[in-house]
Amino acid sequence: MAKFRRNRFASVLVLFFALGLVSIGFTGINKLVTPAAAKIGSEETLVDKGSALFAEGCSTCHGLNGQGTSDGPTLAGVGAAAVHFQVSTGRMPMAAPGAQVMRKKPSYNEAETLALAAHIATFGPGPAIPSAEQVNEWQNASLAEGGELFRTNCAQCHNFAGSGGALTNGKYAPSLGLATPLQIYEAMITGPQSMPIFSDKTLTPESKAAIIRYIQELNKSENPGGMDLGRVGPVTEGLVLWIVGLGSLIIFAVWIGARVR
């Protein structure tokens, strides 16, 4: 034993053992504590539950009262719609600061998202989450009118098929392929990131519904012409032409031009 103690690897081994113990212990304590906190939350009202989630997941950057810090803007007056949009698309809480926050898998479920929205809405008046009737109006809207409105108001950034497009300095208009009708509606009334706000005076609720209808149609991904190549215009067409088209013709030419022996 004494011989082992003086081994030159002994101290390293002991260190790893201690570290392992600490981490196992920490995980265990964490497991014990977390469900308790969640249990307390479920017994409270929506706003209080949101308050707890806010303090845990948002306050580091937005401040304990949503007043904002050097790392995040104030949330006073952003409204429940903005919160629901940002959190349900996974943009908040954000993974890393950058030119633009990316869409990712949401960190909160729908109930938690609604609780957060309810809590943040108390910071100041802002647009509320649109009602189910408001959103579902798109099913009765005009498709052709939606297309016309989409091309006039949306295509300049999101591209003709909602595939997204580049903005300045690494910012971009995202693809609309994953956006739900509710999220599209919320984006229009809250103007997330670089997007302008389309108030009811700019785009009436009927127009908004028509636009949502058109985006739903686009997202069905029906391509009468064949493979759509990402619907980004002639750049990918040119790529296919040079690589697949001309590439295969040159292979054929080499085959034909090969000397017959």
Binding site: S142, F160, G225, D228, G238, L249, I250, I256
Partner: protein, 559 residues
Amino acid sequence: MSNTTTSKKTPAAYNYVDSRVGFSAALKRNLRKVFPDHWSFMLGEIALYSFIILLLTGTFLTLWYKPSMTEVIYNGSYIPLKGIPMSEAYASTLEISFDVRGGMLLRQIHHWAALFFIAAMVVHLLRVFFTGAFRKPREFNWLLGLALLTLGLLAGFSGYSLPDDLLSGIGLKIASGIIQAIPVIGTWALYFLFGGEFPGTEIIPRLYSIHILLIPGAILALVTAHLLLVWTQKHTQYPGPGRTEKNVVGYPLLPVYTAKAGGFFFIVFGVTTLLGALVAINPIWLYGPFTPDQVTAGSQPDWYIGFLEGSLRVMPAIEFNIFNTWTFSPNILIPALILPGLMFVLMGAYPFIESWITGDKREHNLLDRPRNAPTRTALGTMSLTFYILLWIGGGNDIIATTFNLSINSITYFMRVALIALPPLVFIATKRICLGLQRKDLEMLLHGKETGRILRLPDGGFVEVHQPVSEAELPKLLARETYPVWELPQKVDANGIKTPHYHRQMLKARISAWWTKGDLPIPSAKEIQAGQHHAYEALEQASEFGVKPGKEEIVSATNH
């Protein structure tokens, strides 16, 4: 041989036709015309076949297309556009796509074939350039080819604009801006072309006449002239056994090339049809009809205008107001008019510039291997780099979103890269070419390294070198060097001024730069010695009783 057999047994049908048409003698002679064989000689054919496909499918499209900007309300079968006001041109293109049987397929084949047409012309041009096929006597055919390329670009752009969809309308808007940027006459030129302000009601019918009548007619005429010249001047060939400047080694047109070329036509048609059937191109129904108040992100031209899109996007925004009255826009003028003008003028002048530098006025029917003309090859790759960088600049928004980059950084990078990268590529290419030349020289002077080391009984090691085969030898011997012009004296011995002193000085300097690093051509004696050297190891080995391998026996008998 074939003459005697046909005269013995002439079919009745043959006599029937010949007695009425009567140029069987000329035909017989020409059908036996020999063409050299190489895959790279078929690139121009792709362009020719694409053009035939374009004529066929284009004719089909004219049956339904209406070249009119009269506004109509769409009532066809594409639901998302039902009830939308649009031009008749756009509505009829939708009709072709959705309501005409086979219309979508033929429209897409037509568009793919157009992309093929110009792409094939470009690769054909590159082949001709890098192998020096533009040299005397083929300078005019090089110019004809450039004219065809220009016409191809115009055909493409005019056709792309015809559906009057949002994307092509944006393209026309850019074109109108470019026309306006011409100093002094810009505005008048625009009114002249568009019959008034942009977009007006005239441009589509005008482009239609140009697209289906003027340009195809001109292309047809020039293609005929291009091929006639190939016919009379005979095709160039790569250096090889038995090939000289005075002969053509290959196969006769009938039956070998009629079969090969005919088959290749169907392959080109097949690939184009497959693409047309499987891959959507120019989905105008998604773009929507053109109205001047709409624009879409990712507005791009087809690939062949991409270099102009790139030059426009990369150009810094420099614009002047002269006396607050006239706008002068170098930011459009330079990238969209001066740059392409310069590119085509330089390409057209190139054969003449090169022969001026090298002083080479001989006829050339044997092609250069790119490595054997290092400066030309380097100039080619340098220009190609510039062109490809412009492409990337034109797609900067798609690249930005695809690779999560900032569009601004791409643009700044391009501004530097367009100036810095081509010279670097020039230097690298020249070094690579000279390296390959050195390798060739090595083969001539020492034979091929086999990697086979023999240990001699006295302890010495020798590597077996294999002499260059008869088939390879002409290829390695094909290199030529060009003289360096001597620096002229300002005043000769008698005190008389040298005429055209500065021009001669320039020529001397350029030719010194042109031939810099050229390797000496080995003499016949040196080569013979070198090829013999290849056997030394074997001879040495056989003295000690080592048996040569199978390959070595073959080359030894050749020797």
